[in-house]
Every structure is written in structure tokens, then in C-alpha cells.
């Protein structure tokens, strides 16, 4: 068991699952298009499916989701999807079965190159000859920020209402309807983000706004949030999602509450998630060097991620 992944991936997602799930609801267009383009009767694997965000997108395909986080798998299961708990390095699927597979925002959580390669090889194994694969990993060179190194710990500030002691008398989904969490808008000023490994302190708060806030309310609700108000929570560092329409509610933390100490006073808990962020070409290179049966078709930059589309070779 890899201890970096155990402490800074698995246990974090287990603890933040309902909050994390509530922020994962809008499918990325390229992924959606990939899924919808698979013909009826296709067998598709979603490796690292999380809360099942992509499992409902092509009703005429049979989709199997898997994730190592039982709490997220449970959320996906409650939405009616076929899901299993497993390790992406040991997929419980027969060899050569799937017409297509997606692996979104997973491989960057593996702490060594050897493990990242092993994951890609497993994805290759379960695809049939000619099958298609889509992999997304965080890019080191993002639109809004630059990481100063490739192996980083990225904070997640768990809102008080999601913490274990909170009075949760509504389902996670009901909460999402009442109080949606909106990811950051595009066009945020460039900022440097990174963290010392093992550091207790969150990196310098990345989001700045000059707007005055209602000091008594930790959240600003309603549709009248000014455009210059920037989503405060550092989970904006997560893969960015296209901005939502102004009519959608937008709770966010006012800037003066940005310091870690203030967040703690408000009942926020900060978790650090491990990422290996990828440089341009690095993911394609991994395929080329270590995954014989997959041919990279293209590598594109999408939503602050490197996205690779690959195809399993046809046997002669």
C-alpha cells in the first residue's frame, strides 16, 4: 500500500466525499462527446468514476464504474449505476472486453511513475483490440496558475456542514439543490500555487478580491454576486469547469477570511491531496515508452488538464 496515496488521496476522498461529490456535476464536453460517440451496445469502463458523473451519459451503452473510494462509489450506486470498489492497478475486469474506457483525473494521484504506467497498462489490458481510451490528468501549466514543481499537495477546505459532526439531515443531493457550490470563474489573476510536502500550512491564499463582504455571513447567496467576486475556496485548484450562468447561486468565502486560521475558526477542515501534475507531452510519452498495445491519437490541453486519446492496436 502506497502511504502517500493512502494518506493524501484515499483517506482524503473518503472524508470529503459528499462535499467533493456536490462540486462534481458538470460533465466536460470533450468527455461527454467521447462517451456519446460510442455506438449503442458498447461496453464502457469508467475507471475512477467518483460519484458517477459520467455514468449516465450514454444510456444505450453498458457502463461499469469503479473507484477506490467506497464513499464515492456508494453515491454513484445510489444514482442507479453499476459500480465496484477496486484499485485501478488491479481492475476486476476480463481482458479485452471493453469497447471504450475513460480515466478522468485519476492517474495524477498515483505517486510514482511506475504506478502511473501500471495504471495505463491495466487500462490497455481491459480494452478490446481497436477500443478507445480517454485519459485526463492535471497539467502543470494551467490557465490560472503555475505549479512550481510536479509533485504537490493541494488543499481541500471541507465546509463545516460536510464535516462528520455536522447535523446532516438532508441527503447529499438535496444539499446540492439547496446550496450549490460553484467553481471558480475563468480569468482569475495568475497566482503561484504549490505546497511543501508534509507542510501543515496551506499555500498562500490564491484568490484575491477587493469586494467588500457581509462580514456576518460566511457565504454570499443569491444571484447578485458581483462578477469580480472570485470563488474563495482553494478547491478552485481542481480541474476548472466552465462558468455557470449568473442565475445560479454562488456561495463563496469572502477574501478577508482567506487565512488558514480564520477558516479553522469557521469550522473548515483542510485536507491535502497529492498530485503529480503533468508537463506537456509527458502523458503521451508515458504511453509511448511503456504501453505497447496503445497508440496515442492526440494529446490536447483541456480545462487545465492534459487529455490523451489513445486506441488499442488491432491484432494481426
Amino acid at each position: 500500500m502506497d502511504s502517500m496515496e493512502r494518506d493524501h488521496v484515499h483517506s482524503v476522498y473518503s472524508q470529503i466525499a459528499p462535499h467533493f461529490s456536490d462540486t462534481r456535476y458538470k460533465p466536460w464536453p470533450r468527455v461527454e462527446e467521447f462517451l456519446r460517440s460510442q455506438p449503442p451496445g458498447s461496453l464502457i469502463a469508467d475507471v475512477g468514476c467518483g460519484n458517477g458523473k459520467y455514468l449516465g451519459l450514454n444510456p444505450l451503452a453498458y457502463k461499469l464504474g469503479s473507484d477506490i473510494c467506497p464513499e464515492l462509489v456508494s453515491i454513484a450506486r445510489q444514482r442507479g449505476y453499476e459500480v465496484a470498489v477496486c484499485d485501478c492497478l488491479h481492475l476486476p475486469y476480463r481482458t479485452g472486453l471493453f469497447d471504450a474506457a475513460i480515466c478522468i483525473a485519476v492517474v495524477h494521484h498515483l505517486s510514482t511513475e511506475e504506478r502511473r504506467l501500471a495504471a495505463l497498462r491495466e487500462l490497455s489490458r481491459v480494452l478490446r483490440p481497436g477500443g478507445n481510451l480517454l485519459v485526463y490528468v492535471w497539467a502543470m501549466e494551467q490557465d490560472g496558475r503555475k505549479f512550481d514543481r510536479q509533485d504537490v499537495l493541494v488543499p481541500w477546505h471541507l465546509q463545516p456542514k460536510y464535516s462528520p459532526g455536522a447535523n446532516l439531515n438532508a441527503t447529499s443531493q438535496a444539499k446540492a439543490k439547496m446550496d450549490p457550490i460553484v467553481p471558480r470563474k475563468r480569468g482569475n489573476p495568475k497566482r503561484r500555487c504549490g505546497a511543501e510536502e508534509g507542510s501543515e500550512t496551506a499555500p498562500t491564499p490564491c484568490c484575491a478580491t477587493n469586494e467588500p463582504t457581509q462580514a456576518s455571513l460566511p457565504f454570499l447567496l443569491g444571484s447578485s454576486c458581483p462578477d469580480s467576486m472570485v470563488e474563495r475556496q482553494v478547491q478552485e485548484l481542481s480541474p476548472s469547469i466552465p462558468p455557470l450562468s449568473p442565475s445560479q447561486q454562488q456561495p463563496s468565502l469572502p477574501s478577508h477570511l482567506g487565512q488558514d486560521g480564520n477558516l479553522r475558526e469557521l469550522g473548515y477542515q483542510t485536507f491535502l491531496r497529492y498530485y503529480h501534475v503533468f508537463q506537456r507531452g509527458e502523458l503521451s510519452d508515458l504511453f509511448a515508452r511503456g504501453v505497447d498495445d496503445l497508440v496515442v491519437k492526440e494529446e490536447v490541453f483541456d480545462h487545465d488538464n492534459w487529455c490523451v486519446m489513445a486506441q488499442k492496436v488491432l491484432k494481426i
Partner: protein, 136 residues
């Protein structure tokens, strides 16, 4: 803490079509397929039938394994011994396959590796296929 389990009508089960795809990946095992089903709770759940979808899935499954798994759970006796010649147009056969593949569901139980004997629990319809330290 998922109190929502009690509040929602949860669809928590694993289909036989899914079982058909799963295999044991315990280290050293040469053939971990198919997994033996030890069922504690099985339900039938009505699912809308799309015969074109069923016909396409039939080409991907192991029919013998599906039939045997269904029979383990007390279903599938009405299935023929093998897939008929022109199954794509055999409505009766397609409907029977739909029932067995998508409407019979394992809620609670265990899946056992046929070679190593390692058991993987199924709880609320979710198989936990994580390997123990021994199986890695």
C-alpha cells in the same frame, strides 16, 4: 455517514450482466473467471427492455457463464443451452436474456475467486474487489 440510504428508495444491486464481466485478479491466479456467487439477497427489478441493446450485449458476454450464474440464483431455467443461430431477431430469446442480464440483481453476498478461494463481498449491490495484502 450516508443517512440517505434510509431516506431514498435506493437502487442498490449488482446485475448478472456485470457479474459476467468481473474476474478475480488475485496475484498468481491463472484463471479467476468466473467468480462463484454466494448470494444472500437477490431481487428482481423491472427494467425497460431495448432488444437492440440486448442483441449487441449478447455478442460480448460469455453465455454459459451467464446461464450458470442465473441458475445459481434460481433463474435462467428457461434459457436454451446455447445462443440460437439468428438470435438478433429472436424476440422471445432476447426478452429472456434481458430478464436474466438486467433484471436479476444481487444485493448482498460474496463473489469467490474460483482458483484462490478469496472472497469479495457484495454489499448494497456494490462488489468490493480490493485485494487483501495476501492477494496482492
Amino acid at each position: 455517514i450516508l443517512t440517505c440510504c434510509m431516506l431514498l428508495t435506493c437502487l442498490l444491486r449488482m446485475k448478472l450482466l456485470t457479474h459476467n464481466m468481473l474476474t478475480s485478479h488475485v496475484k498468481g491466479v491463472k484463471n479467476g473467471y468466473p467468480l462463484k456467487i454466494h448470494a444472500k439477497n437477490v431481487k428482481e427489478n423491472a427494467v425497460e427492455c431495448n432488444t437492440e441493446f440486448i442483441a449487441r450485449m449478447i455478442s460480448k458476454i460469455d453465455f454459459a457463464v451467464l446461464k450458470a450464474a442465473a441458475q445459481t440464483l434460481g433463474f435462467g431455467t428457461e434459457l436454451p443451452d446455447s445462443v440460437p443461430e439468428n438470435y438478433e431477431s429472436d424476440e422471445d430469446f432476447l426478452k429472456k436474456m434481458h430478464h436474466v442480464m438486467l433484471e436479476v440483481e444481487l444485493m448482498e453476498g460474496e463473489l469467490e475467486c474460483p482458483e484462490s478461494g478469496q472472497r469479495f463481498p457484495v454489499s448494497e449491490g456494490i462488489p468490493n474487489m480490493l485485494l487483501t495484502e495476501d492477494g496482492l
